[in-house]
């Protein structure tokens, strides 16, 4: 049977109409895909119809080609339109089905906490680190020689009353009562200029209450050079107080006493609770002592192997718990070693 131009064109139009209707009715993307392949694929129905083109005169072939292209375009457009519609429908369905109560809490992420003692030590080290102070550490089971004698506190010296000491069953040793023996150890291994920071655990024979413990932490500082003066000490401590408690906080420099410094200093900041008005936290003085300091005693410089005429400098020591109390508004230092997680988990 021979097919003429009109017949072929008619077939193409019929095919078009059928497929346009089918596409519009396709229930889902898969059937739409199948339909498209069925018609437009390499072995599809459109190709099958066009196979008849070979029997047409050469002049007619381009005409059929034009019709075929129009039919193809119409089908493709219809499929695309239907595809878009189906996609939009699917997304709308998905959105509807996936709706959640966004006010529910999220999936918990495990969250730990840093202990305030090492954290406060780190904060102190950060401040002094900006001024060139580097961290050292010394032993906690110390010799009497380092803990006392080389710090200008001979045996049977009344100043020993300042430190109630825990002794151990090792001749000549004790549990260090302060971080100050580190001064001697640093001087013994470094030449000036020295800027050292010595944090660590200390021990005293002391009944436990809200402001005392038999174990506690200190940070010692030591700066030695040829011209390091008491004015430098004041300047540095003011920087420290400003860094920790705000730049505007007033400070006070007054005489103190330590056998290993001369002159000795007590350093106060305006009470962070009452701001100077007077309250129980500051014994109504309006001031809080945050550290002890002074110019390193010539005898201590000697024990450190330095010429006390050529070198001079200062040392300071502070209680870590005391600083932590002030930073975090804690009133009782027993919390630090008790480790109730309801207390600790507040530190981030």
């Amino acid at each position: 049977m021979s097919i003429d131009l009109a017949g072929l064109t008619r077939q193409l139009e019929l095919l078009r109409d059928e497929i346009l209707a089918a596409a519009a009715a396709a229930p889902d993307l898969a059937s739409l895909e199948r339909l498209q392949i069925d018609v437009l694929g390499r072995k599809g129905r459109l190709t099958a119809v066009l196979r008849g083109i070979g029997s047409l005169p050469a002049d007619d072939r381009p005409k059929v080609g034009a019709v075929a292209n129009a039919v193809r375009a119409a089908i493709e457009a219809a499929v695309a339109e239907r595809r878009e519609a189906l996609r939009a429908e699917a997304i709308a369905t998905r959105i509807a089905s996936e709706r959640v109560d966004v006010t529910l809490p999220g999936r918990p992420v495990p969250r730990g906490s840093r202990h305030p003692i090492p954290e406060t030590i780190a904060a102190i080290a950060e401040v002094f680190g900006q001024f060139g102070f580097v961290v050292y550490e010394g032993p906690e089971v110390e010799t009497d020689v380092h803990n006392f004698q080389m710090l200008n506190i001979p045996l049977d010296h009344p100043a020993r009353d300042l430190w109630d000491t825990l002794y151990v069953d090792l001749d000549g040793y004790l549990l260090r009562t302060h971080t100050s023996p580190g001064q001697i150890r640093v001087m013994a291994r470094e030449r000036p200029p020295i800027r050292a920071l010595l944090p660590g655990r200390c021990f005293r024979y002391e009944a436990v209450d809200a402001s005392h413990g038999f174990e506690f932490f200190q940070v010692e500082g030591l700066m030695i050079d040829e011209g390091t003066s008491m004015a430098d000490l004041r300047g540095l401590l003011d920087e420290f107080a400003g860094a920790l408690f705000g730049a505007g906080r007033a400070t006070r420099f007054r005489p103190g006493y330590y056998p290993f410094t001369e002159p000795s200093v007590a350093f106060d900041v305006r009470c962070v609770v009452c701001d100077g008005a007077g309250c129980p936290a500051c014994s109504r003085t309006g001031w809080m002592t945050i550290l002890g300091a002074g110019m390193v005693h010539p005898v201590v410089l000697q024990y450190g192997g330095l010429d006390p005429e050529r070198y001079q400098g200062f040392a300071f020591g502070m209680g870590v718990e005391r600083i932590a109390n002030l930073r975090h508004a804690v009133a009782d230092l027993r919390y630090y070693l008790e480790n109730d997680l309801r207390f600790l988990e507040q530190f981030r």
Partner: protein, 832 residues
């Protein structure tokens, strides 16, 4: 030291409010710890006049007083004391009054008569120690005046530092006040009417140990009448924190507080022949001290003795036999100087530290010996009557030369960071009684004293000689003079400068590895804890490992613990050797306080007693117990177990750049669950020969869990970590990501239950060779179709080659080699 201001005013004019005075003293280094209002707890206690004293109508022992308190009425007050009489003025507690100790006074009926208040004894007001009689006030005490106006006082609690023994006295503190106010100091009157025989006829003193007793001044008083001190004296002593005893004893205590000179008084009748010997104790000697303790005397002890034997422990405590009592008629006054070190040792030896020994051990001004003796004699005569023998016994009347301390004003300025002229410095020193002289000739400036005295010749520099007043025994070197200059001028006037001297060389922080571990574990949800280093000995033993975790770069742990010889409590009497007991304690505390889950870690030290002294080593401890997840609809509920701890150990190892830890079973530690405990070890990623982390991780033995009443599990780990002590982390050396495709193969290996997974993994690794880049276990399966006692371990193997694409044949060859090795070495087969 407690300082009643009304008493201090005897020696110096006080023109400041108590608060201002306290502030000035604090800024001078005499820190005022507290300002106490003495008498502030007498409320509604006023002066009353006894208009009439009649017997109580219904009692023979009580009186009925009619009292005028100046309010226009006469009050009837019932009183039990017998020392009252018409016309006296007495303290009256009106109804509503509150006495010290919180005692409230109300109108009350006493045997049929309503008592409209109470007459007070000195003891009830804590003014004197007399509890028997009513306190009789001076005849001119204004009627109706609150007692607090008359006898109230302000007491400063001054923290006198150990180097300033001279300021442990009212006169000493008066000098400090004078230094700031410019007022003059008035010394107490010490003139003695010597109407008795020459003292030599009564008293002889022999010093056998002049090194330990460089000066002894004695006086003798006959005919004293021992009784209570005047009320005013008792009030002062009580306000200063000292209990009145008797007029003679109070006189010596009064002088100690006033001058800082401890004085001892003996009943002269108890001193054989009036002969005193100052000597060391002899072996076997004993003495009953004032506290009625019979003490065996150590031969080091310095004694005051008579020819028969010991009378007192010199400077520390008197003997009971020679104590001044009501029967005493003649008194020997001892005002001596003792060697400070000897006194301190003796006071510690007998645990008898007293106000007296405290002052002796700080050293005493030589000239206080005669002054103290005279002043005591003066007060005894005034309060107890009697006749003082003529002259004093004085074993060493020669006053020592004053201490001269040359100093350089320029060096003082260099130390303080000031620019004070020599003249300014001299003027400041003069205000604390430090005289100055110009330096003549070659002057040696004392820079250091002690074991190695160090002097510097002041050449071509201005030098000044400071002459220390005899009471300032703390001034010895140039730096001491600098401190005085700064102190008197005011520390506040030292301006703050930022140091501009050379910087030290860079040094790595020893905290680096600790910080990295903390960051890793806090990030993984653990809470960091810090626990006591001192633990109970039983805990130490209960948590001792048979095979302790070895150290990596710290000293090796030592099993012998270090014990505290003077512990506060046995609970904290030995230094720990592992973190495990403390961590268990924290877990228990938190579980008992209702916390559902605990996940904690600590970085701390272990301590031991090595052959060459103490040894300290750093450890990381981890403890997990209870709920592993917070309550949430989004998380399955489960409890912590061994796998959590192992995961954390792997996490730490990865965070520090170590290779994956290898676990091996540990069934031989009684502390731990024998089936759920592992030893572990992780090598450095960069150097497989070096260990980065080693330790033990496991669940506590079920029997111990029961004993501790822990319901499910307690997982513990203790690890030695390289660099924890003072290390740092080498930054990781990394490789570029593979540019050619990676190939993955999943292998399910069926092995017997008893074959450890670590052996299977090791077999795969070693047989696969270098192309195997990653090995991950992703499933464990038991059950059909596997046989009884079998399990399947499913691994994902990831391969890649540097610079080329792997061929199928290469990968197949590796898989074949692995399969063969598994069959040979662990009896495994592949599950298809």
């Amino acid at each position: 030291m407690r300082v009643p201001l009304s008493w201090l005013a005897d020696y110096v004019d006080l023109d400041l409010t108590p608060e201002a005075l306290a502030d000035r003293l604090t800024l001078l280094g005499m820190e005022v710890k507290a300002i106490e209002r003495w008498g502030s707890d007498w409320r509604s206690v006023v002066v009353g006049e006894l208009v009439a004293v009649d017997p109580h109508p219904n009692s023979e022992r009580l009186s009925l007083a009619r009292v005028n308190v100046g309010d226009g009425t006469l009050r009837e007050i019932v009183c039990g004391a017998t020392n009252i009489a018409t016309g006296q003025r007495v303290p009256v507690a009106l109804p509503g009054a509150v006495l010290p100790g919180g005692r409230r006074i109300e109108r009350a009926e006493k045997l049929g008569v309503v008592s409209d208040g109470m007459l007070c004894s000195g003891d009830e007001l804590r003014l004197t120690t007399d509890a028997e009689g009513i306190l009789i006030l001076p005849a001119d005490a204004p009627i109706g005046r609150p007692l607090a106006d008359l006898f109230g006082d302000v007491v400063l609690d001054v923290d006198v530092k150990p180097n300033r023994g001279d300021a442990l006295s009212l006169v000493g503190l008066a000098r400090e006040v004078a230094a700031v106010t410019g007022a003059r100091v008035r010394l107490p009157r010490a003139e003695v009417a010597e109407e008795g025989p020459p003292v030599e006829e009564r008293l002889r003193v022999e010093i056998e140990e002049p090194g330990l007793c460089p000066r002894f001044v004695g006086r003798w008083v006959d005919g004293v009448r021992v009784g209570p001190s005047p009320d005013r004296v008792q009030m002062r002593l009580l306000a200063a924190g000292m209990r009145p005893v008797s007029n003679v004893v109070d006189a010596s205590n009064y002088v100690m507080l006033e001058l800082g000179k401890p004085i001892h008084t003996f009943d002269a009748a108890a001193v054989e022949g009036g002969r005193i010997v100052v000597r060391r104790a002899r072996p076997g000697e004993t003495l009953e001290t004032l506290d009625h303790e019979e003490r065996i005397l150590d031969p080091e002890t310095l004694l005051i003795a008579d020819p028969r034997g010991p009378l007192a422990i010199a400077g520390v405590m008197g003997g009971a036999a020679s104590e001044v009592s009501e029967a005493t008629r003649s008194v020997i006054i001892e005002s001596a100087i003792f060697d400070p070190v000897s006194i301190r040792r003796t006071a510690f030896r007998y645990a008898l530290r007293s106000e007296a020994s405290l002052r002796f051990e700080k050293g005493q001004e030589f000239g206080l010996a005669p002054l103290g003796a005279d002043r005591t004699a003066h007060l005894i005569v005034a309060w107890a009557g009697g006749t003082v023998a003529r002259g004093r016994v004085d074993t060493n009347p020669r006053e020592p030369e004053p201490v001269r301390i040359p100093f350089r004003p320029a060096r003082v300025n260099r130390l303080l960071g000031t620019a004070l002229s020599g003249a300014e410095q001299r003027e400041l020193l003069a205000r604390v009684g430090v005289e100055t002289e110009p330096a003549r000739g070659e002057v040696r400036v004392p820079v250091a004293r002690g074991e190695r005295p160090h002097d510097v010749v002041a050449a071509g520099e201005e030098a000044i000689v400071a002459v220390a007043p005899p009471w300032r025994r703390d001034l010895a070197i140039e730096a001491d003079i600098a401190e005085e200059i700064a102190r008197i001028r005011g520390y506040e006037r030292i301006g703050g400068t930022r140091p501009d001297t050379p910087m030290p060389a860079y040094r790595r922080s020893p905290l680096g590895v600790r910080d990295a571990v903390r960051t890793a574990l806090v990030g993984a949800g653990l809470a960091e804890v810090v626990t006591h280093a001192l633990v109970a000995p039983e805990e130490l033993e209960a948590y001792r490992l048979r095979r302790p975790v070895p150290s990596l770069d710290d000293p090796e742990p030592v099993a012998t613990p270090i014990r505290v010889t003077n512990p506060l409590s046995s609970l904290h009497s030995v230094l720990r050797q592992t973190l495990l007991p403390s961590l268990t304690g924290v877990v228990l505390l938190n579980l008992r306080r209702g916390r559902p889950g605990v996940a904690i870690f600590e970085i701390g030290k272990g301590y031991g007693r090595g052959p060459e002294g103490p040894v300290e080593w750093w450890r990381l401890g981890i403890a997990l117990a209870g709920a592993a997840t917070p309550p949430s609809p989004l998380l399955p509920r489960r409890s912590f177990d061994l796998d959590d701890a192992k995961g954390l150990v792997e996490h730490v190892a990865a965070a520090l750049g170590f290779a994956e830890p290898r676990f091996t079973a540990e069934a031989d530690e009684p502390l731990f669950h024998p089936g759920r405990t592992a030893r572990l070890e992780a090598r450095l990623a960069a150097d497989a020969a070096a260990i980065g982390l080693v330790g033990i991780v496991g669940e506590l033995h079920p029997a111990r869990l029961e004993a501790l009443e822990i319901r499910d599990r307690l997982v513990l780990a203790e690890l030695a970590v390289r660099g924890l002590g003072e290390g740092w982390l080498e930054p990781p050396k990394v490789a570029a990501p593979p540019r050619h495709p990676t190939v993955e193969r999943d292998l399910a290996v069926v092995v017997g239950e008893t074959v450890p997974a670590a052996r299977v993994a090791e077999t795969i690794r070693s047989s696969a060779g270098p192309l195997l880049r990653r090995l991950q276990l992703f499933d464990v399966y038991r059950g059909a179709p596997l046989g009884e006692g079998e399990r399947s371990l499913a691994y994902r193997l990831t391969f890649w080659a540097e610079g080329r694409t792997l061929t199928e044949e290469e990968v197949e060859a590796v898989v074949a080699a692995v399969t063969g090795a598994l069959e040979r070495e662990v009896g495994g087969r592949l599950r298809s």
